[in-house]
């Protein structure tokens, strides 16, 4: 008799637990407002992207096409993956002194692990991470980028 009682109570409790589970999924079925799917390309305008997001490395230029990079090469040194190559050249300034200036700042997005050591160690705050994330391209070569713009100069310290 006790066996039968156990059998029946097991049966009913089992059914109850199943119904409880179904109530959870059932609730969500009938509350489509709680759907969390984001329809990505359509919601570009309203998409919330955090300003600190590490999408890709950029070198901000001001309106005079000037950047802050002094070509010191610290970022290249601290980078664990050889993502950054700083190519410098010597230039003579007005006083006739020769000075090392940035020629090309090469950034390989395909090698970057976004550890942000370059940005953190940059003594002149010349580089920063931008929250862009649509970085897909068709060939890998396009992921090698030159960060300083053509004809840009070093920003004078104010």
């Amino acid at each position: 008799m006790r066996g039968l009682k156990k059998y029946l109570s097991g049966l009913f409790q089992g059914v109850r637990s199943l119904l409880q589970g179904m109530s959870v999924t059932g609730y969500h079925f009938f509350h489509p407002r709680e759907i969390v799917t984001q329809q990505y390309p359509e919601n570009r305008a309203t998409l919330e992207i955090f300003e600190r997001s590490k999408g890709e490395l950029t070198m901000p230029h001001n309106e005079l096409n000037e950047h802050k990079c002094t070509a010191c090469g610290i970022c290249q040194m601290v980078c664990p993956n050889g993502t950054i190559t700083v190519l410098s050249k010597t230039e003579q300034n007005e006083d006739g002194k020769s000075k090392k200036v940035l020629d090309r700042y090469i950034y390989r997005l395909d090698q970057c692990t976004f550890c942000a050591l370059c940005v953190k160690n940059c003594p002149s705050d010349a580089i920063t991470f931008a929250p862009t994330f649509e970085n897909a391209v068709y060939t890998r070569a396009l992921l090698t980028k030159q960060l300083n713009k053509e004809g840009s100069k070093l920003q004078k310290k104010s």
Partner: protein, 535 residues
């Protein structure tokens, strides 16, 4: 027993064969002659006063002239730690006695040492390479490793493998039903390969084959500065990326004796617990999937996304955070941080009962998880199964309680413990920990002091000569970092004692005699992260 008393006792046991190590070290250390090692290890394990039942870490190291093995032993009863260091006489045919008869978990660790350093352990039951294939040339972690191993595209016949030959030789070769789970299998959560012999639906033997995503992080670390190492640790147990980062940073800070600002400690602790919540949520997700309840996946992913948003807002990344740096954290908290965390806690508290109603109470789920894959307390310690899986067997192994770091000593929380040791206990323990973590965050979130978020560090960190060991509690258990420095800007040797690797060693033991479906449930409940195993 004090450290000195312990050392005296050991010195008296084997006079002439043991010497106290004079290196700067975290724990008391002894140098042992290779031939006296096994006897001493047995003494240390079986003696009532020493009672070293937990082998925390077993690491190989290349000292140049000879090869060494270092054992970090811990007593779960007395809480003391002892380091044994031994060396092989030469490096051509180095051999050392195995200790896998004393600590079962040592079997896997010794195979790893063999694989990486070529030290053969005599009397080892299964002395094969563990990560690399049988045909691999050379031993990668030796300092003079130069071998090139070109990739061959011809397929290696499955039966060529020494391990599988061994499995097949058990019975008549044609009668053994050997089946490969993985390396590409939906339930191994990554590229783990389990070779299984079946008897009908019942699992007879399980043989893990790992190394499919071994990246040699330990080798890479030997050529990176300490700041650079941090971002590599993200890639081990990527679900507790933040806690891994911390392990290295804490180790370096301990060596340099840097005082981390209180604000940074608070931030790190909160981030720790958020990581743990995110990881346990992912466990719930994948465990439900493993058992066929696909809907779990979306419900907890929904909550986990809130945490990832919090991470992204402050750290700029969602998974591999790289937020910690030696001395503190990389940047200050985002102004929205506290509000978002509080919102999340409220949301999570609302959702947790839903999880229990959907899965925990379900009669099918209970039937599939209760009394399945029972891991006894004794075996958990011997295998070194730490973290939630170890605590589900009744082992108080929470590093946050044992060796508190950051502000854990000031937080009021209970270490979640269950004693059944089955799949259900492991599952429920993680659910308990979710609540514990929420409580910890709640206690800290309003208390974050103002001040610096990082201590001033030199741009090039040189860790003073010595050996350092640091443990942290990741979402998967006891992560140990053993750092050997020779005063350089690169570490001489950096060993990660990953929780997943020890846990994997227990899987064959747990699965024997259960069904295929149980194998999935057991491996799911141990919550592996494969990069953590392979490193």
């Amino acid at each position: 027993m004090t450290d000195q008393a312990l050392l005296d006792k050991v010195l008296a046991f084997a006079p002439g064969k043991v010497a106290v190590e004079e290196y700067v070290n975290t724990y008391p250390a002894l140098r042992v002659e290779a031939d006296a090692l096994h006897d001493l290890a047995r003494f240390l394990k079986e003696n009532e006063e020493t009672d070293f039942d937990y082998l925390m870490c077993l690491s190989g190291v290349d000292w140049g002239a000879n090869l060494g093995v270092v054992y970090h032993l811990r007593s779960t009863r007395h809480g003391h730690v002892l380091v044994l260091k031994t060396q092989t006489p030469e490096r051509i045919t180095p051999t050392i006695d195995t200790i896998s008869d004393l600590w079962v978990g040592a079997e896997f660790h010794e195979r790893e040492v063999y694989d990486m350093f070529g030290i053969r352990f005599t009397n080892h039951p299964d002395m094969r390479r563990i990560f690399m294939s049988d045909k691999w040339m050379g031993f990668p972690l030796r300092k003079d490793y130069q071998a090139s191993n070109p990739l061959h595209l011809e397929t290696e016949g499955a039966y060529e493998d020494e391990g599988i030959r061994k499995l097949a030789s058990g019975k008549g070769k044609d009668e053994t039903f050997i089946i490969n789970f993985g390396p590409q299998h939906p339930s191994t959560h990554g590229v783990l390969r389990l070779v299984i012999t079946l008897e009908g639906e019942n699992v007879d033997q399980v043989q893990p084959h790992c190394g499919y995503i071994h990246r040699g992080i330990e080798k890479m670390c030997e050529h990176l500065t300490y700041q650079q190492i941090v971002h590599l640790t993200d890639r081990m147990d990527y679900l507790s990326a933040h806690i891994n980062n911390e392990a290295v940073c804490l180790c370096v800070e301990k060596a340099l004796q840097v005082e981390v600002p209180l604000r940074a400690q608070y931030i790190r602790t909160i981030m720790d617990e958020l990581t743990r919540v995110a990881s346990h949520l992912l466990f719930w997700t994948s465990f439900g999937m493993d058992l066929g309840a696909t809907t779990c996946f979306f419900y907890s992913m929904r909550e986990r996304d809130h945490i990832l948003d919090i991470f992204e807002e402050t750290c700029g990344a969602r998974l591999v955070l790289s937020y910690v740096c030696p001395g503190g954290v990389m940047y200050d908290l985002h102004p929205n941080f506290q509000r978002r965390v509080k919102d999340f806690i409220r949301e999570m508290r609302r959702r947790l009962p839903e999880y229990h109603r959907l899965l925990s109470g379900n009669v099918i789920f209970q039937g599939r998880s209760r009394n399945i894959g029972v891991l006894s307390h004794e075996n958990a310690v011997s295998f070194g199964v730490t973290g939630p899986s170890g605590r589900a067997s009744g082992w108080h192994c929470d590093v946050r309680k044992q060796d508190p770091y950051h502000v854990y000593s000031q937080v009021d929380f209970q270490e979640a413990i269950r004693t059944e040791g089955d799949v259900f206990a492991r599952y429920m323990l993680r659910m308990d920990e979710l609540e514990t973590s929420l409580n910890i965050i709640e206690q800290l979130i309003d208390q974050i002091p103002s001040g610096d978020y990082a201590a001033k560090m030199k741009p090039v960190i040189r860790v003073p000569e010595g050996e350092y060991y640091q443990r942290v509690e990741t979402a998967r258990g006891d992560l140990g970092v053993w750092l050997v420095s020779q005063g350089d800007k690169f570490p001489y040797r950096l060993k990660f004692r990953s929780p997943g690797f020890s846990t994997l060693a227990a899987l064959p033991h747990l699965c024997h005699g259960f069904k295929i479906a149980d194998l999935i449930a057991i491996s799911g409940s141990l919550d592996f992260v494969i990069p953590d195993i392979d490193r």
